[in-house]
């Protein structure tokens, strides 16, 4: 069985946010507008977190793309009273939008804070409404949404492979964020396939799972030289 996973090379990330924009366009993530943003209600399936490492004058900025890590033992899946979120056989954490009743328990339980609530009906200022992707449903008010690993792209590739009676080739599925990254910091693929690029990156000594000690079993791995918040050491190794 395919096990979809993602590896993000933090050392390659320049913080350009191309992935953020691509994700928004691909997945019909609505634009919050200045007022809602000021109230902390932006929806970003993928966001860039910035960390300042070192002390002046020896400092450097580290960028970390943060998205749903599609946990194996997901806190969000456990707390949903109506099974609106569940784990698919290929390891995705899926959200069933029509099932969701908006308790927001999943969002509160998620240690990574990567689940988003539709506080109001989504809207796009003209001409942005013309960018809506027909392959992805627009979500509505009162429900949760989150990163799907670009499920629509996965499905398309899987269907094509099935038609051509072959397996999915490594690198054939490219989520919008990975596709748009100018430095190729994001790699997506099948962890079960031993020779896939992502499986190789998972075995790298540079690999670290986010909040690994919580035991949630994330499917996104970050690659970085040295320690995450170890400031001086990270600098001296450059």
């Amino acid at each position: 069985m395919t096990q979809w996973t993602m590896a993000i090379d933090v050392d390659r990330c320049t913080g350009c946010e191309a992935c953020v924009v691509a994700c928004r366009e691909e997945n019909n993530v609505p634009v919050a507008g200045p007022e809602s943003s000021a109230r902390g209600r932006t929806t970003e399936w993928l966001r860039i977190e910035r960390f300042l490492e070192g002390t002046f004058p020896d400092v450097r900025m580290v960028f970390k793309p943060v998205l749903c890590v599609h946990c194996d033992d997901a806190p969000c899946v456990k707390v949903c009273p109506v099974s609106a979120t569940y784990e698919t056989p290929s390891g995705l954490n899926a959200q069933i939008h029509p099932r969701c009743i908006g308790t927001r328990a999943c969002a509160q339980a998620c240690p990574y804070t990567v689940r988003f609530f539709n506080w109001s009906e989504p809207s796009w200022d003209a001409p942005l409404e013309q960018t809506i992707n027909p392959d992805v449903a627009v979500r509505w008010r009162g429900i949760m949404e989150k990163c799907t690993f670009c499920l629509q792209r996965i499905r398309r590739v899987e269907d094509r492979a099935k038609e051509e009676q072959r397996g999915v080739i490594d690198g054939e599925v490219d989520p919008a964020c990975a596709q748009s990254c100018p430095t190729r910091a994001i790699t997506f693929g099948d962890l079960d396939e031993r020779d896939s690029r992502v499986a190789e990156l998972f075995r790298s000594p540079r690999a670290e799972l986010p909040m690994e000690d919580l035991g949630t079993g994330p499917r996104v791995v970050y690659l970085k030289q040295g320690e995450w918040r170890g400031s001086v050491r990270a600098r001296s190794e450059d």
């Binding site: 902390g40 932006t42 009273p81 969701c100 509160q108 539709n118 506080w119 008010r141 009162g142």
Partner: protein, 432 residues
């Protein structure tokens, strides 16, 4: 002959607020209804525009509605403790106050549960957890525990009401048909008495574990998650203690108000206030002990994620609420109620008002300070939660509806159990 005259006097004075309705009733009801009407408008805005009209944000997905939910379900523990435990231990002074407590339980449970409706993103799908329950979710445990508790507490309120309903069937100027149905053919025979007493005892025993489980499960909604300062085993007992604590305070206030308004001074006496005040002190000490233990453990461990929440409580944005809670839940009630001189009716009411305010702050601080500081650190500075006018209005309406329901029920049946007061042993009857 003398005894029946005595009984007649009790009946007259305890039924007075049912059979006589003054202008005061309509004025109070109108005032409360206007508060509820404003909230009705507020909720219509929320239905039209979604939860964007509330003050919640990312990461504070849970705000005032959940705070009220926990608070009111806490209040509901008044009925169980006073009524069930005092009944079982045969404390005679309980007789005039058990029903006041039981009514609080039923109304508070309804008010608490109503918050689910305001809180949900899609309130029109409120029924879905019943059709498609996911049993790993603490929210489903909540549904089960609270449904059971509402059912149990309604039965527990109804059983001791039967003889009084029969009395009203004979004496009430109105609604006699309703009372005839509800009194289930009570005639007061020896056999009926025996069955009733037995049923009440069984319910009193059964309702205690249910009540304890309810607030434990409510706390588990928070503590089963990995959220800093929520994920702690102390939450179950801590919430139950806080619930009983705030329940006693609510009961003391209700007793004082009803005593004054319905002239029940002969029945609800300083004895009851004194005994409940002592119980309130005990619970205040227990509550303070739990609060101290919880915060000391978090501070000593000094885990960064927990420290972020803890320092926001001790010195940060939530410090006014946190220290306000400590002062109103412990310092003020203790300094009033430990001294015999100030442990009066007025003293206990003042202490109780502060306890209720403090316990509301406690629920608010627990829910919002942790929600504001998730493990994902970059979410910490996303802006603090402040409730919108919609949430505040709905909160005000919940308190108004609580009082209104109480006032309306006072028109339907006596709030002091007539038959139980009549049956009090002579020694207690003297103080009554």
């Amino acid at each position: 002959m003398e005894a029946s005259e005595h009984d007649r006097k009790i009946e007259d004075s305890l039924l007075r607020h049912v059979v006589e309705t003054g202008a005061g009733f309509y004025i109070v009801a109108l005032m409360l209804l206007s508060v509820i009407a404003v909230a009705g408008f507020a909720w219509s805005r929320q239905l039209a525009n979604g939860l964007s009209v509330a003050g919640m944000n990312e990461p504070v997905f849970w705000g005032l509605y959940i705070t009220n939910y926990i608070f009111f379900i806490g209040i509901s523990h008044a009925g169980t403790l006073i009524s069930a435990i005092l009944r079982l231990t045969g404390a005679e002074w309980r007789r005039p106050i058990t029903r006041i407590a039981e009514v609080i339980t039923v109304i508070a449970l309804l008010m608490g549960s109503s918050n689910i409706l305001w809180h949900l993103g899609r309130p029109e799908r409120l029924y879905l957890p019943l059709l498609k329950p996911q049993f790993l979710s603490p929210l489903i445990w909540d549904v089960g525990a609270i449904s059971l508790y509402i059912t149990g507490s309604v039965i527990y309120l109804f059983l001791p009401l039967i003889p009084d309903l029969a009395l009203l069937r004979d004496r009430s100027p109105r609604l006699r048909g309703l009372y005839r149905i509800l009194s289930l053919g009570w005639t007061g025979t020896e056999r009926q008495h025996r069955i009733l007493e037995k049923a009440i005892s069984v319910m009193a025993v059964a309702i205690i574990p249910v009540a304890v489980s309810v607030h434990t499960v409510v706390s588990w909604t928070l503590s089963m998650t990995l959220v800093p300062m929520w994920h702690t085993a102390i939450f179950g007992p801590y919430f139950v203690v806080g619930a009983i604590f705030s329940g006693i305070a609510a009961l003391l206030i209700a007793m004082a108000v009803l005593r004054r308004v319905f002239h029940l001074e002969d029945y609800i006496t300083p004895l009851q206030f004194n005994n409940l005040s002592l119980l309130l002190i005990t619970m205040a000490c227990l509550w303070a002990y739990f609060t101290f233990a919880e915060h000391l453990t978090a501070w000593y461990g000094h885990e960064p994620a927990e420290m972020a929440v803890l320092s926001s409580r001790l010195t940060g944005a939530f410090a006014p609420y946190f220290w306000g809670m400590v002062v109103s839940c412990f310092v003020i009630p203790m300094s009033i109620l430990v001294f015999k001189k100030t442990r009066t009716v007025t003293g206990s009411v003042i202490a109780s008002v502060f306890v209720l305010i403090g316990m509301w702050f406690e629920r608010f601080v627990i829910v919002v300070s942790s929600a504001s500081h998730p493990r994902s650190q970059q979410m910490w500075d996303r802006g603090l939660y402040s409730p919108s006018w919609v949430e505040l209005s709905v909160t005000a309406a919940e308190f108004s509806a609580f009082i209104l329901a109480y006032v309306v029920l006072a028109k339907l049946f006596p709030l002091v159990s007539v038959w139980e007061v009549k049956e009090a042993p002579p020694g207690v009857a003297e103080t009554v």
